[in-house]
Structures are given as structure tokens and as C-alpha cells.
Subunit: 331 residues, 2 copies
DNA sequence: CTGTTAGCGCTTTCAC
DNA sequence: GTGAAAGCGCTAACAG
């Protein structure tokens, strides 16, 4: 490995001069400068960022830690990148593969120490696990669960969104609406919040929230969502609306409905959550809840910088509003 | 910031002992060990990874640099992560926003020095720009362009895939097949290779490769692809097949065809390239070329480790075969 | 304009 | 089983 001293020796100057040439920090005589650059070139020198970061006490890098690289998280990551870069930091993405162990490892593990700050979209950790996390580096939690007070946190208005989507389908005539991908019972999962919103909309309309209409889907995958939708149809349970907890589930449901010859939106209306780009280009285009990636990203990055500037500032909890995008899968 | 010396002082030991306790490198007397761990806990110490990496001369991290976080790249990144992690490294994802400047910055810029190795999926750089890149760190180029000999490189069999998809539609009766998203003329873009495959299939079948059927799409976005497809339909050009250069383009084309009342696959067959997960769940499911993410990831990681082990090993160029996945958008 | 010194936080090496 | 010294590659601070 060629170091700065190698370059300095080759150019007949001190390492400081090399440093000053490369960083344009202090003026260097043109002749010296040329000699240094020539040595850099001929030796193929590239600065060791690790050493530089150690010296600087910062890395200039922010990490976004997500359960997967797909769908909602792609779009979120893109929004966060667009928010981070103008502020002069770099964004890197890491995935946890959605297991609690990985998330704990990501966040309590030492790797976090590589970054100036971390934005973490948690799905696998419960409140107690989150509570065990120290907070030596600025960290902002993203997502739907409720989290310990001491963490900065950005969440979506999940209940609102679910209520809006469900109410919209009720208004357009649906009476038997599935909560596809929802989790029954208590809990702090994103899907719990969304199921509660679904219930509220039904209750507001004087409709029953029948347990049989709450259909859990283990991993939120296309495969399992399709299978779940098919088995509901085949069970004969009357359904004239589907509120899917995610757009992935909604898209799989559209496919399953089509396979069974049910027309959307005529026989069954469908609404999703996430407003994935692809949904806007399906025939028919998917009605969905827009989670406001830009606002989430903006708030998350704002909270992170606030904490990077002042580690002792009081934690802030932000809830970002969502909006309903009405398209072709509802009437 | 609390450092190892702080912990050592609090525990009444040397930093070496703290290091040994934390890394379990050498045995430490149980009593000492307990005292150290207690100090770590009470001071909230976390090890500085940057210092550790500087000392170790490696970071244990591999970067995958991609033009965007979406679609093909999501799926690729997932496959690469699954390949990298079992080998004991971490994967981070960075995006270049698909501009040549960003790609140059990513790869010649100093940031690269943060990683033990880099896998870069290049789209914006031409051969000459790539040639200006030094190669101080192990780097594997991914993607469709042809690249300077000295780089390790993994590419797809783009021509083969395009030929297979087009030939399949010809076999099933299409005669006027669009190359949607292709670039006319010479060049080393992915879309050039795929257009050439389209031409070959037509030629093999004794059909003309009419220039009017080559339809460029600036940014490969859903929006532009939909607009391009609509304007082709409205122009009255007879079309009974669409070979889309990417699945994103194919999905947008499906939407546009539907908007104009054309039936798929009865009136028009459609085939894409990338085999995105979502395509398998559309009604009808999208026929596409499976780019073999697992094989690409496996080869890329293999080449990278090979070069990390021996920086002087001769560069290797690998072409990964693709396969046709026939589904509902072709007959 | 350029150089010397000291040290970022950690671990290897050598000593006891 | 534990510690002291040296140094990874870089740069701030202070000379000159």
C-alpha cells in the first residue's frame, strides 16, 4: 500500500505538503504542487479514508438500515439519499434481513460506530429490545412501532391511512372488506395499527369488524399473499373489498382475483398501502395510501442532524401524515 | 467520546487488557474481566471501528455501487448480500444516481478506500472513462458494457436473452415486434446488445428489422415507457409483439396496451427482461428473461475475493447465461 | 510557503 | 496474566 509518506519522499517534500496539495487546504507553490501531483500519479496513490476519518473524528457517512432492499424500502432509501446528499454527507444502505438478531447486531453492534449517524427502519425489535440499545451515536428510528421515549422517532399515520382507504371503499359501495395481511389481537406492529384503522372505518360506518376478515400473511411476500387471497376466495367468504396492508400484498391480491375471474373494481375493490411506483402503472392502477417518503426522509434527516449537532437535545417523536391516492382499483 | 483508555483507567488496568477482554483474544483473569466489563457498561463504551480498521488495515466491508436502489438493482443487491454475508463480510449499498460524474466520483474518488472491495454496476461510464480509473482497491465491474481488459468483469448474455425472448414471440405468431427502450446505432450500452439480439431473432426468422420498431426511452422510467408505447399505438404502426428492454418498460407497456383496449397476449404479446418479482404476479404474469441474479452475485463475489487474496491475479471476464421464463403475456 | 511534532483510538510486539 | 512502547496513515497546531 502506498502511503502519503511514500509520495512525500518521492516528491522530496513533507507529508504535510502532500496533504495540503491534495486537500487544497493551504496554498502550495505551483512548482511543488506539480511535483507532488506527479508523484501521486506515478505511484498511483489514493488517500486512506480510514486514517483520515480517524483523524477527523467523523466519517461523513450516514447509514440507513432497512429490513430489505425491496419495494417500500427502495423508495424510502431513494428519498433519504436525496435528502442526505445535499447536506454533504454520503448515504449507505445496509439490510438486516428482517431478523431481530440482525437488527440488534446492526444497532448495538460496533458497526454503527462507522457512521456519523444512523437511520434505522425497525421491524423485528420489540420495545424491550429497543430499550436495551445504548445510544452512543446519533440514531433515528423509523417506522411504525412505538419506541422508547429517549429515541428520536419518525412514524407514519398508519391508522389514519388504513381508515381513509377503508372508508373510501365503503363510500364507494363495499360492505365486506378484507384486512389482508393484518395481524389480529394486540401488538405494536405496523399491521396492528393498520388493522385498527380498518376497524375504525368499519365502525364509523356501522359495519361489523368480523374476525374472519382479518387475514394474516406471514412474511408479506407476493407468494403468500396470493395464496392467502386465493384461499379466501375459494372458502366462499363473501368479499367485495380488499384493504391490503402493503402494495405488494395488494398486487398479489389483484392477481389472485383475476385468476378467479373476479373483476376489479366492479366485483371487488382493492386498496393498498405504500403507493409503490409500479402500482400506478398497473391496469387498473392501484388505489393506495401514499406514505409521504419525502416528508419521512426530510424529518428523519432533520432529526438526525439535530442530534449530531447536539447529542443531548431532547428526543423528538414525529408522525408524518399520509394521503389517499385514488386510482382504478376503486370505483 | 469515551475511549478505551477511559475504560482502562476506570477499571485500573491497561488498554491492552480492555482490548483483550473485548476481543477475547488472550485469556484474562475472571476478576479483571468483570471489572473491565463493569466499566464498559457504566461508561457506555463502544469501540471505535475507524481506529480498529486503521490498525487492522481492513474494514471487513464490501460495497455494491449501483445507479439506483430500484427494481433490477434491488434484486441484484439482495443476491449479492446473500453471497457476501456467509463469507464474513458486510455489504453496504451506495447509489450513484446514474450520472457519469457520480460514478467516476464513486470509483476514482477516495470513498472507495473505505472498503475492502467494491462491486460496481456501471451504466454511465464509457470505455474511455473506465480506462481512467486506477485500481488501487479490488474492484469488480458488473453489467453489460464492455470494459477494459484489466478489470474483473461480470456481464449478462444480453444478446442471447433478447434473441430468446424475441424468437419465442415469433414462434408464437408475432411478426411485428417492437424493441421498446432500445437504442439505435452502435454503442456499448446494455440496450444496444439487447437490440442486436432482437435483430438476430428477426433475421433468423427471415423477418425485417425495421428501424421504426426501435423505440428509445430516455430514462427507462415507467412514465416515459408508457408515453412511448401510447404514442406508438396512436401512430397506427402495426404491432403484434413488444420486446421491452427491461421489465419496468414491459409493465408500463402492458398498462398502455390495456388503456388502448388491446388484449395481451391475444392482440399483442409482451416479453421483458429482468424477471422482476412483481412481474410474476401481474395478471397476466409477465414473460421475461431471468438474468440469473444468484449466478451474477456468486461470480462477482468470487472474482472480488480472488482479487482481494491476490491483487496481481489476471483479470477475468465472465458472461452469465440467462434463461427465458415463459408466462402469461406470451401465448 | 514548508516542515516538525504530536496524537486521533486501537492493537501488535515484546517484555515481565 | 498483564503492561509499555510503537505505530497504523493522516492532519491540526505550531514553528520557521
Amino acid at each position: 500500500m502506498v502511503t502519503m509518506s511514500d509520495v512525500a519522499r518521492a516528491a522530496g517534500v513533507s507529508t504535510m505538503t502532500v496533504s495540503n496539495v491534495l486537500n487544497e487546504r493551504r496554498p502550495v507553490a505551483p512548482a511543488t504542487r506539480e511535483r507532488v501531483l506527479a508523484s501521486v500519479e506515478s505511484l498511483g496513490y489514493e488517500m486512506n479514508q480510514t486514517a483520515r476519518n480517524l483523524r477527523a473524528g467523523r466519517t461523513g457517512t450516514i447509514a440507513l438500515i432497512v429490513p430489505s432492499f425491496f419495494d417500500y424500502y427502495s423508495e424510502l432509501a431513494d428519498a433519504v439519499a436525496r435528502e442526505v446528499e445535499p447536506r454533504g454527507s454520503h448515504l449507505v444502505l445496509e439490510r438486516t434481513a428482517a431478523t431481530a438478531e440482525h437488527e440488534m447486531a446492526s444497532v448495538s453492534g460496533a458497526r454503527l460506530q462507522l457512521y456519523d449517524g444512523v437511520i434505522m427502519s425497525s421491524v423485528g425489535l420489540d420495545r424491550e429490545q429497543l430499550d436495551r440499545i445504548r445510544r452512543p451515536k446519533p440514531i433515528v428510528l423509523l417506522g411504525e412501532r412505538d419506541v422508547p421515549e429517549r429515541f428520536d422517532h419518525v412514524r407514519l399515520a398508519n391508522e389514519d391511512g388504513a381508515r381513509m382507504a377503508t372508508a373510501h371503499m365503503i363510500e364507494r359501495g363495499s360492505r365486506r372488506i378484507l384486512a389482508l395481511g393484518a395481524t389480529p389481537g394486540d401488538g405494536h406492529a405496523m399491521t396492528t395499527d393498520r388493522r385498527v384503522g380498518w376497524e375504525q372505518a368499519l365502525r364509523d360506518a356501522g359495519l361489523p369488524a368480523d374476525e374472519r376478515y382479518v387475514v394474516p400473511i406471514g412474511d408479506y411476500s407476493f407468494e403468500n399473499a396470493r395464496a392467502a387471497m386465493l384461499s379466501i376466495i375459494d372458502s366462499g367468504l363473501p368479499v367485495d373489498g380488499v384493504f391490503a396492508m402493503t402494495d405488494v400484498i395488494a398486487i398479489a391480491a389483484l392477481g389472485a382475483l383475476h385468476e378467479r375471474g373476479l373483476r376489479v373494481p366492479d366485483d371487488v375493490q382493492v386498496a393498498g398501502f405504500d403507493d409503490l411506483k409500479v402500482g400506478r402503472f398497473l391496469p387498473p392502477a392501484l388505489t393506495s395510501i401514499d406514505p409521504g417518503h419525502e416528508a419521512v426522509a426530510r424529518e428523519a434527516v432533520r432529526l438526525l442532524h439535530r442530534r449530531m449537532d447536539d447529542p443531548e437535545v431532547a428526543a423528538e417523536h414525529v408522525s408524518v401524515p399520509v394521503t389517499l391516492s385514488v386510482r382504478g382499483t376503486t370505483r
